[in-house]
């Protein structure tokens, strides 16, 4: 049986079984070239292991292990309402009647705590909508309506990082609201206006009004973009026509 290069590699990678596996081993015993070729593949694995395996026994940096201990949504100053809602949604969909009051109270408390703490402290441009979704108002809503990621207006209080079509076929846009502390988030167009699935305070990085790259966004916002985006971000022309048709 002729041993192909492909079979040799599959053997070295432990991907062969049965007759193929036995054929390679038989060939290794009788054909020094086959044996040398397998040995060569094993040398490469060994060199890679020598370089990369020591990472396994390095101490894990605190910033990484800490992530796995923290509660995800109330961590730092990130307010992730979707995460909060999905935790509430843990309750079975058909609640027995006696469970209602407790579930409702829990959801009210959570909503009030997040929104009031946030609103009273910093931000009049964010309001809690009737269904518990955070909505953009005032300057933020104006900015989201008008600003283009592809053609930012200098001096505007709102900069848009990228616009994209979401899996549920609406338009979503990442934004930075420039205040004393910058606020970054994701806004998605709904019938009620711009709904904000995630909002996070942001370290002041540039201060020169430079348009933020999508990669400058807090990880919580990026994760939300990642989970929602369908295809690529809108190009300049598509973004402009989406704006001109009211973001539908």
């Amino acid at each position: 049986m002729k041993i192909s290069e492909e079979m040799l590699m599959a053997y070295a990678d432990g991907q062969l079984s049965g007759t193929d596996h036995d054929a390679v081993e038989a060939a290794m015993r009788t054909d020094p070239e086959v044996a040398a070729a397998v040995a060569r593949q094993q040398r490469l694995r060994a060199r890679l292991a020598e370089v990369f395996d020591p990472v396994l026994s390095e101490p894990v940096p605190d910033r990484l292990s800490a992530l796995l201990h923290a509660e995800p949504s109330i961590r730092d100053d990130v307010i992730d309402l979707d995460a909060a809602r999905s935790r509430r949604a843990v309750a079975p969909t058909r609640l027995r009647s006696w469970q209602w009051p407790a579930a409702m109270a829990a959801s009210l408390v959570l909503g009030v705590l997040l929104s009031q703490a946030w609103l009273s402290r910093t931000e009049p441009a964010l309001v809690m909508g009737a269904d518990g979704a955070l909505l953009a108002r005032g300057e933020l809503a104006d900015g989201l309506d008008r600003q283009l990621a592809s053609a930012p207006t200098t001096g505007s209080i709102v900069t848009v990082g990228l616009s994209f079509r979401s899996k549920s076929n609406g338009i979503c846009r990442t934004f930075v609201l420039h205040r004393s502390a910058d606020v970054a988030g994701l806004a998605c167009r709904t019938n009620a206006g711009w709904s904000l699935p995630v909002v996070a305070a942001m370290a002041k990085a540039h201060g020169d009004g430079m348009q933020p790259a999508a990669s400058d966004m807090p990880a919580a916002v990026l994760a939300e973009v990642d989970a929602r985006i369908e295809g690529d971000p809108l190009d300049a022309q598509t973004e402009r026509s989406a704006r001109d048709s009211g973001w539908h």
Partner: protein
Amino acid sequence: MAENSTTTVRDGLGELLPRLRRFARTLAGSAHDADDLTQIALERALARAEQWRPGERLDSWVFGIVRNAWIDEQRSRQRGRALFTSEEDGLNVGQSPMEGQLIRMSVQTAMARLPEEQRLAVALVLVEGLPYKEAANIMAVPIGTLTSRLARGREALQVLLGDGEAMQR
């Protein structure tokens, strides 16, 4: 249910952390960039824990998230706005005359010279030891595409590391 799967994912990620760091190191090269990449991937994995299905290999699932985060980072680098700085390790290259260090540098330099898709294939199969099927899933390609990338990546590494086929004969 969602609560349970989030806890399962978080515990599983804790166990996988050393391997995640190793995988990130094979992609990003410098320790600092690799840990930034690991951090981003962990945050994304936690934010989407409910998308992981019990029965699906958790390592494959989160390696896929690392891969996507890495590709995003590559794109943003190409736009000229790097999220990571790579000075730290770059400055240390070649400072130690120890043999171990020299081997490390040459393998890492060789890895860095591979095209992205070949490096991924090498990292998943040769370093992480995943079966072809899992590696192909993570890279979202058919198995035949994976094995041809793997073969090319292998050959290129062997040439770069002075163990090319020509030297055998």
